[in-house]
Each structure stands twice: as C-alpha cells, then as structure tokens.
Amino acid sequence: MSILTNILETGTGFWNPLLGLSFGLIIILLVYLIRSQGERKYKEKTEQTLPFFAGNLPSRKSLKIHNIYWGFFEALKEYYSWLKAVHTGIINDYIYWFVTVLVILLTILILFVIL
C-alpha cells in the first residue's frame, strides 16, 4: 500500500493519516528550523525568561491547574449545581431515574403509534 492509497473515505471527504503525519513532520521540521534561527545568547532562569518584569507579580504558588477552568464552571454554575444534585450516589435515586426513563420511553412510543 502506498502513502496515497491509504485513505479513509468519510462520505463527504477523506482522511489520509500517513499524508497527514508527513505534513505534521514537515511542520515540526520548519518550526525547528525557525527556532534554530533564534537568539543564541539566551540565558535560562534570568529576567530574559519573563514577558514583563515590572509591577507586582502574583505568587505562582496560589495558582493551580484547576483554576484554568474557573470561567467554564462559573458560566455553567447553575447547570453544575443541578448536575451535582442529581449524582447523589444513592441507589434509590438510580432506580427512580430508571422508572422515569421507562415512563418517558413508553409515553413517547405510545403517542407515536397513536398519532
């Protein structure tokens, strides 16, 4: 099989992983070449590494990975309060949901048949 015939047809387009990977490798090579043209006198762990060095910098220790999702959780605050309330961990609630789904499915299908 050649690199050009390794094609996954998607109905509206196609995906050739080997060709995609080749382009990826070319891009990585280009990035490496551009990077290698950079400043050679760069010194690690000096002020050169800071984007800005004036002003009061926040303590890095107070920042955690979870903080990057703050905006997401804040925007969906009401959704999450409902979601947490649903996930009680109580087995009775699991069965209530099952019965609810049974009733909804039965109602929909019967209405569909009648109408």
Partner: protein, 513 residues
C-alpha cells in the same frame, strides 16, 4: 472444528474458569499459564470464526440437534441456537482481546492479594458471559448470559473486599443489574406469551405490532441502556468503574459495550420489522447526546482518576449511540442511508473498537499510577513522568486518542461520526466536536496533575511498573497507533461488514428460518 467453533467459544472459557482454582492449587505459575493459554485458545477460535463470517456468511449452531445447522425441525426453532454474523464476531474479537490483555496486566497487578484464583475464574466466567450474550440467537439465552456477566462483574468489582466503597459499588451494581435483568426477563415473557417463541429471528418475523410488543421494546431498550451506562441511567458507572481494580474497570467497559451491542441487536434485528425505527433512532440519538455532554462535564469536575475516566467512558458511549442512532433513524430512507447513514453507523461501530482500546489503556495507566503511588487522588500526585516515563507516554497516547487528535484511532472513528452526522443534523455534530474539546481539556488537567510539576517527597523513590503491566499497556498503545495510521484497512475488513450486518436484518433471520 469450524462447525463447533461457536459452542466451543462459550464452553472453553466456562470450563477454563472451573479448572482455574484447581490449577491454582498446584501452583500460581501454572494457574497463570493456564489462564493465558485458555484465552489465547479462545482468541484463536474467534479468529477462525471471523475468517468464515466476516466475508458475509452467517454461522448457526443448534444445541442438541442431530447436526448443528438443523435450526427448525418442526417448522420453527425450538432449541437453543447460537448465531454468528459479522457484528457478533466483531464484538467477540474485541471482548476476547481485551480479556487477554487484561490477564497479562493482572499477573503482577493483583499478585499481592489473596483470592487471585477467584479473580481469574471470575474473569473467565465474565468472558464466557460476554461471548454467550453476543452469540445468543434467542432472548432467554441472552438473558441467562447477561445474568452470568452481571454476577461475575459484581464479584470482580468487590475484589477489594476490605474496602467498604468497593462492596457498596458492587452492591449498587448488582441491584441495577437485577432491575435491568428483570425488565429484560419481563419483555421476554411478553413476547413468549404472545408468539410462543424465544428465538430472535423467529420472533422478528412473527411480530404483529401489538401494545405488548411496544412495552417489551421499551423494557428491553431501558434495560440494556442501563447496562451500557447511557445517561441518565449511568449513575452506577462511576461507582463500579471507580472502585473495581483498574484492569477490571477496563473489562467492565467491554461488558458495557456488549450490552450496547444487545441494544443494537434488539433495535435493528428483533424489532427491525416494526415501523418504529425512526423514532427509536431518535431516542438512541438523545441517549447519545446526553451521554456525551453530561459524561464529559461530570468528568472535568473529578479529582479521583478512576471516577474521571469512568465519566469519560460514559461520554464516549454517547458517540457510539449517536453514530448508530443516526443510522437507525434513516434506515427507512434509502437515499439518506446510502449518503450518510451507513458511514454514521461505521463510525459508531468503529468507535466501539477504538474506545475499547484507548479507554482500556487509560484505565491500565490509572492502575499503574495507583499500583505505584497507592492513591487515586489527582491532587496528591505529581511529577510521575520522571519516574514512570513509559506510563506517561502510554497515558498521553490514550489521552490524545480519546480526545480525537489525529493521527490516532479515536480521530478516525470520530471523523466518520462528525462528517456523517453533520449531514443529518449540524447541531449534533457540533456538540460531538465540543465534547471532544472538553475531553482534551479534562485530560490536560490529569496529565499535568499526575505527571508534571514537582514530585511529592513520598513518591521520590518510585519506579516504573513491572514488565508484564508495561507489555499490556504497550500492546494497546500499539493498536491505537496502528488503527490510527491504517483506519481504512480496519473499516473495510471489519467495521463495514459489522455495520452492514446490523442493517441487513433479513440475512440474520433467514439463516435460522
């Protein structure tokens, strides 16, 4: 041997399970070799069967008949009939492969615990349960193997008997399994009471679209939706997957997918003749969208690595439901089916296989972390990439695959789903893409917390996991890359025949009648 392949596929793991404690009495090494040999033999049998069936043939086996292909001596099927078409063999290949990889991983993972003989015996019984459910040609046998699967799974979830949480998770699992099983048994009763038949093909051709048929359909759909962990019937998943040993969480994913297969078999084959396919397809799509979105949004919240992955498993099940649901919704419309319906189903079916591989790998990497650190709490981990570089690489591969990043296997199946579902409803496709982005966001957090940053003092001296555990993870990682680089070979050779087997229900029915 080919003639008896189907029955051997169920008999071998069952017999192997009962001989496992005896082999354990002689020695643990012999027991390990016995389990591995049994699973390799079953894998060989599945491959032999696949060679015959994937080409389009359907193989049947009538238990107790004069010869195995004698399915209806009195004009209708009266015996237990096993039936294998391309989708059944596809599921069997995944199930046995997963059981084999998990057994290799478990060799060192569980060696420090007592009752390892029971662990392997239950794992083999679970494998027999999955294979029995997959190949069952009649509803009651399907129910029996579902019960076998559930009981073995419950025992394995409760493996850490000294932990209250594990026992509670097992209790919850057996309760929901019993309720789902009861509903399935009721529906079998409704069908038998009306038609005097248990065989899927025979019932399918005899259906008269009565009120009881609709009730039976609802009970079956709800029962199998609960067993496969579709939202809002997913609440047990985080408990069971989260508290079971990591390799068992990986095989539970497969067990859930076997229930998903049963849901598809019911929708396409058993009730394929009823004029309800469009509405049924939409119901499956709604289950899928809810599973995708609620699963991933719950996963982002988690700090327990196993529970986080459990919610991702729920979310990924949504993609399969969405893909196959779209196919089901347009099955009556030939032009839509040809234009995008078959591709959507191929995407959904391919995702079953891909999900089994990358979700299995992710659970095994979680197990590797827990094996070395003794904690599931992500906030207590850190800097493990230095001490466990191979586990870190395997985790990254699994994370990229589940997030649908090219060129890994998850991307290939998701691309089929995105593009085909877009032609059905652009909104559904956009939701699917959004869920993939959220999945990546969730795994960025996990990778950072577990593998990057500073290493806590108590983890300074930890090492990489033993070789057998690394080998099991490596096998899955290899398949993630191979299926990602050569998806067309898998789709043409396995996935497409499996999807078409679901659509072409008359071939399944004609093989028995």
């Amino acid at each position: 041997m080919l003639e008896h392949c189907l029955v051997l596929l169920i008999a071998v793991p069952l017999l192997a399970a009962f001989f496992t404690p005896l082999a354990h009495k002689i020695g643990e090494k012999l027991r390990n070799w016995w389990v591995l040999f049994s699973l390799v033999s079953i894998q060989f049998l599945v491959l032999v069967l696949a060679k015959n069936v994937i080409g389009g043939d359907i193989q049947v086996y009538t238990l107790g008949a004069e010869f195995p292909s004698l399915t209806s001596p009195a004009g209708f099927p009266i015996r237990i009939i096993l039936e294998a078409d391309a989708i059944a063999v596809f599921m069997a290949l995944i199930s046995v492969f997963a059981a084999l990889v998990i057994s290799i991983y478990s060799l060192r993972f569980i060696e420090k615990y007592k009752s390892t003989d029971k662990y392997y015996a239950l794992l083999l019984i679970l494998t027999a349960g999955m294979l029995g459910l997959i190949f069952s040609g009649d509803m009651f046998t399907m129910f029996v193997f579902l019960e076998l699967l559930s009981i073995a799974s419950c025992g394995l979830i409760a493996f850490y008997v000294h932990r209250g949480e594990s026992l509670e998770a097992a209790f919850k699992y057996i309760v929901i399994s019993a309720v789902a099983g009861l509903m399935i048994l009721f529906s079998v009763g409704f069908l038998y009471a009306q038609y005097g038949l248990l065989n899927i093909a025979a019932i399918s051709s005899a259906l008269e679209f009565t009120f009881l048929d609709i009730v039976a359909l609802v009970f079956l759909v709800a029962g199998f939706a609960m067993k496969c962990g579709a939202v809002p019937l997913h609440l047990w998943v985080s408990d069971a997957y989260g508290e079971a040993p990591a390799p068992i969480s990986a095989i539970l994913v497969i067990a859930s997918q076997v229930s998903l297969y049963a849901l598809f078999r019911i929708s396409f084959t058993l009730f394929g003749a009823l004029p309800l396919k469009e509405i049924l397809g939409w119901l499956v799509i709604i289950f899928g969208v809810l599973s995708m979105f609620i699963g991933v949004t719950m996963a982002i919240l988690q700090t327990d690595i196993k529970r986080l992955m459990a919610y991702h498993a729920v979310s990924q099940t949504g993609y399969m439901l969405l893909g196959v649901g779209v196919g089901l919704a347009v099955i009556g419309n030939t032009s839509a089916l040809d234009a995008f319906g078959i591709t959507a189903m191929e995407g959904g079916v391919f995702h079953i296989m891909n999900h089994a591989i990358y979700q299995g790998l992710l659970f095994l990497t979680a197990g590797a972390i827990i094996y070395r650190t003794g904690t599931k709490d992500l906030n207590k981990m850190g800097g493990l990439a230095k001490a466990m570089p191979f586990t870190a690489i395997f985790f990254l591969l699994g994370s990229f695959a589940i997030s649908g990043l090219p060129p890994l296997n998850g991307f290939a199946s998701k691309l089929l789903i995105y593009e085909s579902v877009f032609r059905f409803s652009p909104l559904l496709s956009i939701i699917a893409i959004l869920v993939s982005i959220l999945t990546l966001a969730s795994f960025v957090k996990v990778f950072y917390l577990a593998f990057l940053g500073s290493t806590p003092a108590k983890f300074q001296k930890i090492k990489e996991v033993p070789k057998s555990m690394g080998l099991a993870m490596g096998i899955l990682a290899l398949f993630i890359v191979l299926f990602g680089l050569f998806p067309n070979i898998v789709v043409d050779g396995l996935v497409s025949p499996a999807a078409r087997a679901l659509i072409e229900q008359f071939q399944y029915i004609n093989a028995v009648l």
